[in-house]
């Protein structure tokens, strides 16, 4: 879906807990690598490190180190935009969800991403870009002042390194479960590699590697659905086999079972999917999470900045082919049934989330298996590099440079960026070990992100589209919105039966909670921001130039041909999105 690696888990079914439990068992590993596989992994690491050293000389100024010199083309920024989100845990988690819930899981890739990405490209990107902000907290600073910037920056920086550590630990566990690799080995090798190439080459190096990783993920994972479809005899046969095996048609339909909470495997309602996921969560993540927005800010001009999310949306739309389809194939081809985490622990069986590794082992021999494992490692490293580079930028620009040392030289800030990259990686490693000894932390931290996304989106979108919101309005909107999210979560946490009130139905299941919590949180944020703003002094219009819709005309883009216009490409992607939803209705 839209959320990166473990971050996505705040709004979804996949849980990393399975890894904890599975690793705790003493069952044999799924596969062992041959010399050829090891060679492929070694070549990958060599290329990644080389790129870091190679780009070191191109990251001397802060603009180069933190923003990649704002020289990326639409294609590179767009691929990086999607790749930063395409972590390996996301791949495995959603493949597991597809096994569990059927094609419904594709909502997190389509309605849960595409409209928001197109909206970012068409509506929001011009404001981010022409304001020349370095970050989303930086935009909040320009629009709402230092209070909102501080709240946003500190929460983002803190959560980013924590999540990076959780991802790191989870990936190390995957390698232990699948290949029997030592936890310490996986944690240190991967983190040192990421630290080296990001600290040396900055965002440019992260972006270069993310693009390579995106291509690698596709090449490594694409054979699974291809061979899987050959084995089952095509899509029509697969659907028939799924219906026979699961005893329900709803595993192969996107929308037809969403009329009521109890007519689909997820226990959700279409209002939650459309408004909670498709609007609040999706727009919140794709348009205000700096981890992904940073990639687009590196574009070389405003047209590239607008095209990047649109191109990213086109690629995102195709990702279910390598994530959701394998989950569906597993329903048909695996000779045993996958189970939930608890049952997997008790019986020594395989859990839902092992779908992708199981299929990799099923179809890929020596060499190809190495490519598949490298794709998983690449996915993990792209997610981690995204976290660390975003952390480094927000720390240096929005915390250190804004509140601690405002008048340092550019060279000093670049040095701070390199050091904060290393520190960010070390904190991540520390988090990984902390989680190893206190697994419950993982669940809580994953929830934390969901507390900030909806309020942030509410405040940013209001401030961008309407000139009336004030500094006080933005600050209180963020604060009350976040408090609302935490309160709703806590309510259901201590009294699970409260879900019937949050999701408006006694038939709602766990998945529905996140969707409706986000929706209510966003509504509260918007109401508070509007009300407080109406009772406080508005900012002079002159101060809002380049920050708010309608204050000054946006710079004209001169495309030579009609087909070069971003709106045309957005329309094509939107048409593809609608078509897919109709086909799989």
């Amino acid at each position: 879906m839209l959320l990166p690696t473990a971050r996505l888990l705040t709004t979804s079914a996949p849980s990393l807990g399975f890894l904890q439990s599975t690793a705790a068992q003493t069952k044999t590993t799924l596969a062992s690598l041959s010399g050829v596989d090891i060679l492929i992994i070694a070549v990958y690491f060599a290329i990644v490190i080389f790129i870091g050293f190679y780009l070191r000389g191109a990251s001397n100024t802060s603009e180069e180190f933190f923003m990649a010199g704002r020289e990326m083309t639409a294609w590179i920024a767009g691929l990086s935009f999607v790749s930063a989100n395409l972590g390996s845990l996301e791949l495995m988690g959603w493949a597991g969800s597809a096994y569990q819930y059927g094609i419904l899981a594709a909502h997190w890739y389509w309605i849960g991403a595409i409209p928001a990405m197109l909206f970012l490209g068409i509506v929001m990107m011009p404001f981010y870009y022409i304001s020349k902000t370095h970050s989303v907290p930086g935009y909040l600073h320009l629009r709402y002042g230092d209070g909102a910037r501080f709240v946003s920056a500190i929460s983002f920086a803190f959560m980013t390194v924590l999540m990076s550590g959780i991802n790191m630990y989870s990936m190390a566990l995957v390698m232990k479960v699948v290949l029997g690799w030592n936890l310490n080995f996986s944690i240190w090798v991967s983190s040192i590699t990421v630290a080296v190439y990001v600290a040396l080459g900055g965002l440019r190096s992260a972006i270069y590697n993310e693009v390579l990783q995106f291509l690698l993920i596709w090449l490594g994972a694409l054979l699974v659905p291809i061979l899987g479809l050959i084995e089952v005899g095509g899509w029509t046969n697969l659907k028939a086999q799924m219906v026979q095996r699961m005893g329900s048609m709803q595993y192969v339909h996107l929308w037809s079972g969403l009329g009521h909470f109890n007519t689909n495997p997820m226990g959700v309602h279409w209002t939650g999917i459309v408004f909670g996921l498709g609007f609040v969560i999706s727009f919140g993540y794709w348009t205000t999470d700096f981890l992904v927005v940073q990639r687009v800010l590196s574009a070389d001009n405003i047209r590239s900045a607008r095209m990047a999310p649109i191109l990213g949306a086109a690629f995102k739309m195709a990702v279910p082919f390598i994530v959701i389809l394998p989950g569906l194939l597993a329903i048909s081809v695996l000779p045993y049934k996958l189970v939930g985490e608890g049952q997997a622990v008790a019986t020594g069986g395989h859990s839902y989330n092992e779908v992708l590794p199981l299929l990799l082992v099923r179809y890929l021999g020596p060499g190809l298996l190495g490519l598949g494992v490298t794709a998983l490692i690449a996915g993990f490293m792209s997610g981690m590099a995204g976290n660390v580079s975003a952390f480094s930028t927000v720390w240096t620009y929005d915390l250190y440079g804004a509140f601690i040392n405002k008048k340092a030289t550019d060279r000093h800030y670049v040095a701070m960026g390199r050091w904060s990259t290393l520190v960010g990686v070390l904190i991540s490693v520390g988090t990984a070990y902390l989680v190893q000894h206190a697994a419950s932390i993982m669940d809580y931290v994953q929830q934390l992100f969901s507390f900030f996304i909806a309020p942030l989106f509410g405040v940013v979108i209001l401030g961008m589209l309407w000139r009336r919101p004030t500094r006080a309005g933005g600050f209180w909107g963020l604060l009350v919105g976040t408090t609302t999210a935490i309160s709703l979560w806590w309510w259901v946490h201590v009294d699970p039966s409260a879900l019937r009130y949050v999701a408006l139905s006694p038939d709602a299941k766990d998945m529905a909670e996140n969707l409706y919590r986000a929706l209510w949180t966003w509504i509260v944020t918007v109401v508070v921001t509007v009300v407080v703003s109406l009772f406080t002094q508005p900012r002079p219009v002159k101060e809002l130039e380049g920050l708010v819709y309608g204050v000054v005309p946006l710079p004209e883009e001169h495309d030579d041909h009609w087909w070069q216009k971003p709106i045309v490409w957005a329309g094509i992607v939107a048409a593809g999105f609608v078509l897919l939803n109709i086909i799989f209705w």
């Binding site: 050829v36 790129i51 780009l55 294609w75 390579l212 081809v333 099923r362 890929l364 021999g365 020596p366």
Partner: protein
């Protein structure tokens, strides 16, 4: 120093190396069948997938091979793409 190599050149090199390794492994398996072959291994996916990767990688490596020139242009920095 400024970046001179296109990102697509790196992509080409990576795919070329991976493709060659996998293709050669696939050829080796033709004469030395695996003891525990994966499902559908009779289709020899390593051969055609590896060959495809190697060819695509070769094409990108050649097309984006760093050209000698007096000055690195902005286009080079942007990856020509």
């Amino acid at each position: 120093m400024r970046a001179e190599l296109s990102i697509w050149f790196f992509a080409g090199i990576q795919f070329l190396l991976f493709g060659l390794i996998i293709f050669l492994e696939g050829l080796w398996e033709l004469s030395h069948p695996l003891v525990h072959p994966p499902v559908l291994n009779a289709l020899h996916p390593a051969v055609w997938w590896g060959a495809g990767m190697a060819l695509a990688g070769l094409a990108y490596t050649v097309i984006f091979w760093p050209r000698r020139g007096p000055l690195v242009t902005a286009t080079d920095l942007k990856g020509n793409g």
